[in-house]
Symmetry: C2
Subunit: 410 residues, 2 copies
């Protein structure tokens, strides 16, 4: 499956130039886990002193690597030793019972041996088919080669090695000045559905040479995740393997614990990567921003936004370039959060569509229909009953999604 | 749109023979609300003494007729006068502001005049496009004709008059012996999506000649609704107009308040109609029963069942005849209800697929793939952690759904 899909029409023109993050080196290779003729394993090695934070899927059936990472981050000591991240694509090692944990332990032990790190500082992820035993011997066989070929400039091949049904590699970066010195942040991501054809999930790895304490790093990541990756949806389905990790090497010597510009730059990198995941949504032909305001509170604004973004009828209307605002009314009504029919306002871009419980005076369907032909759409919904706000990003639901998920067996 | 879709491959061979329900008469006609060349208004007139119960959408943006019915049923007196139900298709009178209420009042007043009933005993429903003013004058113009042509045998034309994107008319009936006397129940329904191309919803009207007190009638309807119509889903989208009404004329002279066989027969009629709505699900090619057992409680079993039934990835796998059990694991994991990966068991029909946290020993993909070619499928999921049970019915997600909802403008 991987590599056979045409590049998403919403993809950026090319992979961005990413700055070198001092203190982290990458290597990738082909271990033949499932795919032939492409890299499918990547190793990132973090220098001594690197702090690591993580956010993971809340699925009750999450994968063995996710459970292992969560357990290790619960203790979260050992930054002085450094850390390593090892990721394979092609097999998610999810729903593989006790054998799944055996595979994780075997890979972590081999990576610890090759890197000289304690096993507690080895973090792994697997993405791909669910329920098949991970052939971890193939991965272990390449680990010493990976450790011998680490290169601080090799982040783009690492981004390619973790792809499954992605149609483009995803990277983003920002630099920020703190006290007159430059700090860099670079991240990579994969994902083209919350979970995709038997294989796929969202994996995100972000690196910075700033120095950030472990607790602050975790708090920052958890907080920004709520406003970035937790605000996107392709198909409402949640992966068993979603993993987001943030690593701070401190190699710049710049302390960013208290830096607001650093937090803003990190937010920008996370948002950029989150948007790229939506832009590679399975079958996507439109990138859609749902802006919700006037809800009873922010949490209810998000409930409304998700209800709109996940509605098959809203998503198919967008695919059909149909300004079908009645379906937005339906999605608000069914969300379970508070709404007042007669205070609800809807806009497509700058076009007032509905207000005061009915269609806007002067609304012309031709105008709205012309707007819907854009590749990037903004749908604004004002509940008119409070100050709650949220923004959710999604894509449309097209024949391409059915093609990818029903017509082909991965 | 209506009438242009091919008959669902899951449709029954023909409309069933429905028994006459003494005490209720029907009439239908073409008022030209939106469709040309077909009936689009139906009137059902209930004899004096008839009790009426109803269950309606919980949408926060529900339609004017729904709000009016709910208000009238809150008082629920007046059975001695009888009652009338007037339904139009083509326009849902939803999100039409104060004008929506004006239309309902005008229609109720005209129906009261034509039937001699008090306005409090006139119940209406509208199904079709959202957000367009209902041309109620066209409906009012035919009401006296309707009242003049009432016929107790005319239930099938009534079932046809309320269709929108339905590909077949839906009816079901049962008779039951109580104390040696026969009581009949007959019902009609429309619906082919929780909400469909700008127009459609679920409307259900059930009639019986049993005598059932108002409170008992409402309690019975609300209870059985939880196990029938509230257990089906086509696309997870909830209509602004869903209405389910049950009317007991008492004309048989048989008191069914305490009758368990009556409750069972009513359950059978409701389940039959609910299944027919799923069988007419937009684009459906498979009828799927999701049986959940072993959940912490019944409510959580239903949460798991809905998560599976609404998952686009599960529904597309079924469309592709792909025994993709990893997606069932994913849907259980994301549902939010309790699950233990290592106690989860999955079966397709009688085929054990997964158990003890992994694929079942002896599972052969070819066997499961052959099963998935059936038009009717049973997917059983046992959580292994409690006694909670639920059954949910759904259909697959096909190119046909995208065709109906994106490619054509209704």
């Amino acid at each position: 499956m991987a590599g056979t899909l045409p590049r998403s029409p919403l993809a950026p023109a090319h992979f961005p130039e990413l700055p070198v993050i001092s203190g982290v080196r990458f290597a990738s290779t082909a271990a033949g886990v499932r795919y032939a003729g492409r890299d499918d394993v990547m190793l990132a090695l973090l220098a001594p002193g690197s702090t690591v934070a993580g956010v993971f899927t809340r699925s009750a059936t999450r994968s063995a690597p996710v459970l292992d990472c969560q357990e290790k981050l619960r203790h979260a000591g050992g930054a002085e030793a450094g850390a390593a991240i090892l990721v394979n694509s092609g097999n998610s090692n999810a729903f593989t019972g006790a054998r799944g944990e055996e595979s994780v332990q075997a890979i972590c032990a081999a990576t610890a041996l090759a890197t000289g790190l304690p096993v507690e500082r080895i973090f792994t992820a697997s993405t791909g088919v669910i329920g098949e035993r991970l052939p971890h011997d193939r991965i272990i066989a390449v680990i010493s080669d990976l450790a011998a070929t680490l290169d601080e400039g090799a982040i783009e091949p690492a981004a390619r090695a973790i792809m499954t049904t992605d149609t483009f590699a995803k990277g983003a970066a920002r630099t920020v000045e703190i006290d007159g010195r430059t700090v860099s942040i670079a991240g990579i991501a994969k994902g083209s559905g919350m979970i995709a054809p038997d294989m796929a999930t969202m994996l995100v790895y972000i690196f910075t040479d700033a120095r950030v304490g472990q607790q602050r790093l975790q708090a920052l990541l958890s907080d920004l995740n709520e406003r970035t990756f937790n605000c996107i949806t392709v198909d409402s389905d949640t992966s068993t393997s979603d993993s987001l990790m943030l690593c701070a090497t401190g190699a710049s010597g710049v302390d960013a614990d208290e830096s607001e510009p650093f937090a803003e730059a990190l937010h920008a990198v996370m948002l950029d990567l989150a948007h790229q995941v939506v832009r590679d949504g399975e079958g996507a032909s439109k990138f859609v921003e749902i802006r919700v305001s006037g809800a009873r509170n922010d949490a209810e604004a998000r409930v409304h936004g998700r209800s709109i973004a996940n509605s098959p009828l809203v998503k198919t209307a967008i695919a059909g370039e149909d300004p079908n605002w009645g379906r937005i009314v339906m999605a608000v009504g069914k969300s379970g959060a508070a709404a007042d029919r007669d205070r609800l306002g809807i806009r497509f871009g700058d076009i007032p569509v509905a207000e005061n419980g009915w269609v806007s005076p002067g609304y012309r369907e031709e105008t709205a229909a012309a707007y819907m032909k854009n590749q990037e759409l903004v749908i604004s919904v004002d509940l008119g009953i409070g100050d709650g706000q949220a923004v959710i990003w999604t894509c449309d639901l097209t024949h391409g999604y059915i093609d990818i998920n029903a017509d082909y067996r991965s």
